[in-house]
């Protein structure tokens, strides 16, 4: 197919090369420098999509981010699929494959088109809510088909071949937009020496200057752009980021920029020097000052059938002609409310094609551009507008008539004009999206007929964003903003040096949003306000009639400005229509909030490198490699990877977890096992007040703990609820080593600092984490002493080294601290060595352990063994609502300590003193085969009508090879007084388990085994 709309010359494309691409399976050709949109227009492709709701054919309307229709799906392979790309923002590359997003099964011939023709009756506003929301259970079914036919793009089903980066950037001045205002601002700030980032979303920087008719210093505007960019590129303190969209403006001048680095080259990032490069980068910018130079979007007029392909924004027509050498039709009718749009007609005529007429809503159009049009012999119809477009798949004509703007009525007879293109302009809407992200509501200005942003601290706006449109003023405004931003961040500003621009004599625009029609809005042809969401003027009128007066409610009722569109073209027109219907002014109707992101960002860019193997940190102990080599299955405990159990190959197959854990449990109870306990939190505490501090943060007493001794401690919050537990050893009079649970280590250290820094700064004590410094190995079981004796010089005699003592010496030739504490109930030694030695010490123990059948065990076995002893895990058997008394740990509460330690006062509040609180008990299932579910609810009367009163729940439950049955820890209301009673656990599958309340200590209640 030939590029029938391509002009013989002009534009910024590279005509020496051709690129081939496909759209909806058909092949076309374009040039480097084209966007997908300009190439489609060059090839005469009218229909690019079907509309969201009515399934009407749609064509390209705009030339930039505001494009509502040409939202396409990219990708030739499943893995390369990218949804919701605007064809106007996608650079053409060789081999590009694109499809329409909407229009299943095909854009040309659409199934839903039938419904679309019936239109109004079938899908009035609020249709989805009213029709499909009831019955609620059917929504899933409706949704599938509505989504499929509506088409919101689809995500790839295969792994993304690309990689993405986040970059944390800091600068003095961030300039967003590299049109005339942004370039001037960047030059002002850059020359002052400030660290500047200039970001622009287009393929080329320059903005409107790239297709401007204006002369700067008597030369084409793009020459000045080239010089400005060259200067900026030469400044060390300036970073230029083309193809970079500022998508979100967050608190305190934190802006996220999405830089597309390879999207213009290929559908997946090509390798550079044989190495992968990031497809896109998300720059997380913290800026001293932000200059918004985001320009303005032209506002299309709202008239009948304004969605038929061939209806374009006036400015887009100029852009396609001047920048891409594409004229998107043959016969043009222009409908305008202002001078500026005359450029489109002038450009059209200069391309050698026919301008049928200009319908100018102003009764007496005057101004330089108007005169130029007259001079070219273009027919101008004053006081008129296009009422309605004709045609279905392409514009075939326009009905034009005089309109009475005040009275909102057609005041003359309509004239039908033959044409294939209608360009319209209702003036400009400043692009205030980013300013709006900060929460500041914009202000309506009658003089420019648009909203301008209200600016929070640290942000400036310049040029079109502020409603300044004349090129000379825009440059000056940009320079001023850039200078102020640099000055605010401490730089000496330099004198302005800007190109000369002749002033233009412009006529005043009039306010025109919706064009009146002979028929009332509800009966006339559809007048589209939001093309992407298929919202019509009639829909807004209906919304106001149904009582939705706030523009936010109108928006939700009609879906105006939803989704990826974010109201770029439609919102102001929509508000104007709502205002007309309600008899109010636009500012009285309010304004809308624009939210991040400005344009869609791929998940890849959002995720960056935080995915796959780098999704989350994995913390390893110094012995990790041994565990891996010995087939450990791992469990996540916080960010730690801990061996869960070590399955062995037995009789030609791997043990199940149940079998492995049973074997490991028996080994510890009968012989000896070894556990990597390095993940335990360890805090070194020094200072003369260390002991006093411990007494305040633990519930039990510390005054008399002697050097060489260890004590179990329970920590509460001031509400009396258990927060963590662990052992603390007295290393010397002013020196202690505290342990905390693996998951709670960081929180406990912060807790100690909190109390020290805020409540008791007078206490002389310091806390330092030594968790990573020490590796910890627990050797436990009846044979533990014999094994350890082989590799240590420490006297292990039961009198010399008692239970709850610690000693130092060497283990396997390495300096070690050994703690005789037990979490299994068996004889146990916790060996601590500097982590760099740990692997060797572990391997030495394993080698010596062979003759004792030393068995490495993991966290699951640890849990079974500790639960058999009734030892709690904070956070599993407690949940922030359990007191030490609830745990039956009265022995660990020092009520008579002199200082009112953390949690003490709360234990006497009426609620914590209740006797029917949930209390820790053991549960023995009647059926020994049953292992109760953790979290299962406990009831006293299984015959009670549903809902049954729930009296407690299971906190820990395992199978015990030692007991030969399942067993559990649970919290039960008043449980400590209910020993021997039967409780019931109704399960989801209808089964009801029976269990007896027993002591939580199932094995060795007197604690003789750990004390041998």
């Amino acid at each position: 197919m030939s590029q029938s709309n391509r002009l013989a010359q002009g534009g910024r494309i590279d005509r020496s090369r051709e690129l081939s691409f496909t759209f909806n399976g058909k092949s076309y050709r374009g040039h480097p420098g084209d966007t997908l949109a300009s190439a489609l227009l060059a090839n005469g492709v009218d229909i690019v999509n079907r509309s969201f709701k009515y399934s009407r054919p749609r064509g390209i309307v705009a030339a930039g981010a505001e494009e509502p229709n040409a939202v396409i799906q990219l990708g030739s392979t499943e893995a390369a699929q990218v949804p919701n790309v605007r064809a106007t923002q996608q650079a053409l590359f060789e081999g590009l494959e694109a499809r329409s997003t909407n229009g299943w099964p095909s854009v040309q011939r659409d199934l839903m088109g039938v419904i679309g023709k019936l239109g109004g009756q079938f899908m009035p506003p609020g249709f989805y809510y009213k029709t499909f929301m009831a019955p609620a259970s059917m929504w899933m079914t409706y949704e599938k088909y509505i989504r499929k036919s509506a088409g919101l793009g689809r995500s790839p089903m295969e792994k993304d071949p690309d990689i993405y980066d986040h970059l944390n950037r800091h600068c003095d001045v961030l300039v967003i937009g590299a049109g005339p205002a942004g370039l001037a601002a960047a030059l002002a700030a850059g020359r002052s020496g400030a660290r500047v980032i200039l970001a622009d979303e287009q393929e080329e920087m320059g903005g409107s200057l790239l297709d401007s008719r204006e002369l700067l210093d008597e030369r084409p505007a793009d020459q000045w752009v080239a010089e400005a960019l060259e200067e900026l590129a030469g400044l060390d303190n300036v970073l230029l980021l083309p193809r970079t969209t500022a998508n979100g403006y967050h608190d305190h001048n934190f802006v996220t920029l999405h830089e597309r680095r390879t999207e213009h080259l290929a559908e997946t990032a090509p390798r550079e020097n044989g190495r992968r490069q990031a497809r896109s980068r998300l720059h997380r910018v913290r800026a001293g000052r932000v200059v918004l130079a985001t320009g303005a979007h032209e506002r299309p007029l709202v008239y009948g059938n304004n969605d038929v392909p061939g209806n374009l924004q006036a400015g887009a027509v100029s852009t396609y002609i001047r920048r891409y050498g594409v004229v998107p039709g043959n016969k043009l009718v222009l409908s305008t409310s202002n001078d500026h749009a005359y450029r489109a007609a002038l450009d059209w005529v200069e391309s050698g094609r026919e301008v049928v007429a200009i319908a100018d809503a102003r009764p007496e159009p005057v101004g330089e551009l108007v005169e130029q049009a007259r001079a070219k012999g273009i027919r101008i119809i004053p006081g008129a507008a296009v009422l309605e477009a004709r045609g279905q798949n392409r514009v075939t004509g326009a009905r034009v008539a005089r309109v009475d703007l005040e009275g909102f009525r057609v005041s003359g007879d309509a004239e039908s004009l033959d044409c294939d293109t209608i360009a319209s302009s209702g003036g400009y809407s400043p692009v205030i999206h980013l300013a709006s992200h900060t929460g500041a509501r914009p202000t309506w200005r009658d003089d420019i007929l648009g909203f301008v942003p209200n600016l929070v601290e640290g942000v400036l706006a310049a040029g079109g964003t502020q409603g300044v449109y004349a090129i000379g003023e825009v440059l000056a405004d940009g320079w001023e903003a850039g200078s102020r931003a640099a000055g605010d961040t401490g730089f000496d500003t330099v004198e302005a040096r800007l190109p000369n621009v002749g002033a233009r004599n412009e006529g005043k625009p009039v306010a025109l949003y919706q064009v009146p029609h002979e028929k009332p809005t509800l009966r006339g042809p559809k007048q589209f306000v939001d093309l992407q969401n298929d919202v019509t003027a009639a829909a807004i009128e209906v919304a106001t009639r149904e009582g939705f007066e706030s523009i936010e409610h109108v928006k939700r009722y009609t879906a105006m400005g939803f989704g990826t569109d974010q109201g770029k073209l439609g919102n102001i027109n929509g508000m104007a229509i709502a205002a007309r219907c309600l008899g109010r002014s636009i500012p009285e109707v309010g304004t809308t909030v624009f939210r991040p992101n400005y344009t869609p960002v791929t998940f890849g860019a959002v995720v960056g490198r935080h995915c796959r193997e780098l999704f989350d940190p994995e913390r390893y102990t110094a012995i990790h490699q041994w565990h891996v080599e010995h087939g450990a299955e791992f469990e996540d405990v916080g960010q730690w990877k801990r061996p869960w159990y070590f399955p062995r190959r037995v009789e030609g197959r791997m043990e199940t977890m149940h079998e492995a854990v049973a074997r490991e449990c028996r080994a510890v109870r009968e012989k000896v096992g070894i556990l990597d306990a390095s993940t335990l939190g360890k805090i070194d505490i020094q200072g003369p007040d260390a002991r006093e501090f411990l007494g305040r943060v633990y519930t039990n007493k510390w005054a008399k703990l002697a050097p060489g001794r260890v004590r179990y401690g329970l920590m509460c919050k001031d509400d009396g609820m258990v927060m963590d537990d662990g052992t603390t050893s007295c290393l010397a009079e002013n020196h202690f080593l505290m342990t905390a649970s693996t998951g709670g280590a960081a929180a406990v250290l912060e807790w100690l600092e909190l109390w020290h820094q805020t409540e008791w700064p007078e206490l002389e004590v310091y806390f330092n984490s030594v968790t990573d410094h020490w590796a910890t190995m627990t050797v436990t079981g009846p044979e533990a002493r014999k094994l350890l004796a082989e590799v240590t010089d420490i006297d292990l005699d039961r009198e010399a080294f008692k239970f709850m003592d610690w000693r130092e010496g060497t283990v396997a030739g390495v300096p070690a601290r050994v703690f005789r504490i037990s979490f299994t109930g068996e004889l146990a030694y916790e060996i601590n060595v500097q982590a760099n030695y740990a692997l060797n010490v572990w391997e030495t123990l394993i080698a010596h352990g062979e003759k004792y059948d030393l068995t490495p065990y993991g966290t699951e076995t640890m849990h079974v063994l500790r639960a058999e002893k009734g030892f709690i895990i904070a956070g599993q058997d407690t949940d922030g609502s359990v007191t030490p008394e609830d745990l039956g740990m009265h022995w660990a509460i020092g009520y008579d300590k002199p200082f009112s330690w953390i949690g003490k006062r709360a234990l006497t509040r009426p609620d914590t003193a209740r006797t029917d609180r949930k209390q820790l008990v053991g549960l023995k299932p009647r059926n020994p085969e049953v292992v109760l579910e953790e979290g299962a609810q406990i009831v006293f009367d299984p015959d009670h009508a549903i809902p049954m009163p729930m009296k407690g729940h299971v906190t820990s439950s395992y199978y015990s090879p030692t007991l030969g049955s399942g067993f559990a820890l649970a919290v039960v209301k008043g449980g400590q007084q209910r020993m021997g009673e039967t409780v019931y656990l109704p399960m989801v599958d209808g089964q009801v388990h029976e269990a007896e309340i027993v002591s939580p200590i199932f094995v060795d209640p007197k604690g003789e085994r750990q004390n041998v």
Partner: protein, 216 residues
């Protein structure tokens, strides 16, 4: 072992002169993830400096400064984010918080140093904690280091805004590191042992486009 025991604080030499195999925090990572050799095109070169002596000093700046000058002939950096080296460049002290400094010395010196500092500090209120087994130091050099850091840490690592002699604790990917600049060309990361593998794998991944090389 020359462990000193007074009745107040228990110091302990966790190092031994015996020929016992030691493993740096990255030993496992090298074996699992490999260590690409630096080449001519390497924009980033990483070298681990394992087994150094790391001591945390806690206390008032004035007393610690006196003791440090007496024992090591280094002035304590009193300004936030400051990092100073001794004349040899082998020993450094870094401000961590108003009452906390990190002292890094050649491996093997730390125990004797701790004892001498304790002696110099006498009865003052302070704490010294040996954390050498729990940390490792990575040196980063090359023209792409600052961009690699930009991808990794949230702190402003622009070389113009992070002068030599600065050090901060900050967020690295989803964990934390101490980031320091020891010379015009050299940056340092002090990583916790258990996170070292994650940090190493992150550096390899993010550094791929700069042909990152590891010196072993």
């Amino acid at each position: 072992m020359s462990n000193s025991v007074d009745d107040k604080v228990k110091t302990f030499d966790t190092r031994t002169e015996a020929k016992v195999p030691v493993e740096s925090p990255l030993a496992y990572s090298y074996r699992r993830s490999g260590a690409p050799a630096p080449g001519e095109g390497s924009g980033v070169v990483v070298r681990e400096r394992p087994f150094l002596g790391h001591l945390v000093l806690r206390g008032g700046a004035i007393i610690l400064d006196e003791a440090l000058r007496e024992v090591l002939d280094i002035s304590l950096p009193g300004e936030p984010q400051a990092l100073v080296f001794d004349a040899s460049g082998e020993r450094s002290v870094q401000w961590i918080s108003p009452d906390e400094w990190l002292l890094i010395v050649p491996g093997g010196e730390e125990f004797e140093l701790e004892n001498r500092l304790r002696e110099a500090l006498g009865d003052a209120h302070f704490a010294i904690t040996n954390i050498g087994g729990g940390q490792t130091l990575l040196e980063l050099e090359g023209e792409a280091v600052s961009e690699l850091l930009m991808k990794s840490v949230i702190y402003d690592a622009d070389p113009h805004h992070f002068p030599v002699g600065k050090g901060v604790t900050t967020v690295f990917a989803k964990t934390s590191v101490i980031l320091r600049r020891s010379s015009e060309t050299r940056w340092e990361l002090v990583a916790r042992r258990s996170f070292a593998d994650y940090i190493y794998r992150w550096l390899l991944d993010a550094g791929e486009e700069y042909a990152i090389g590891i010196v072993r």
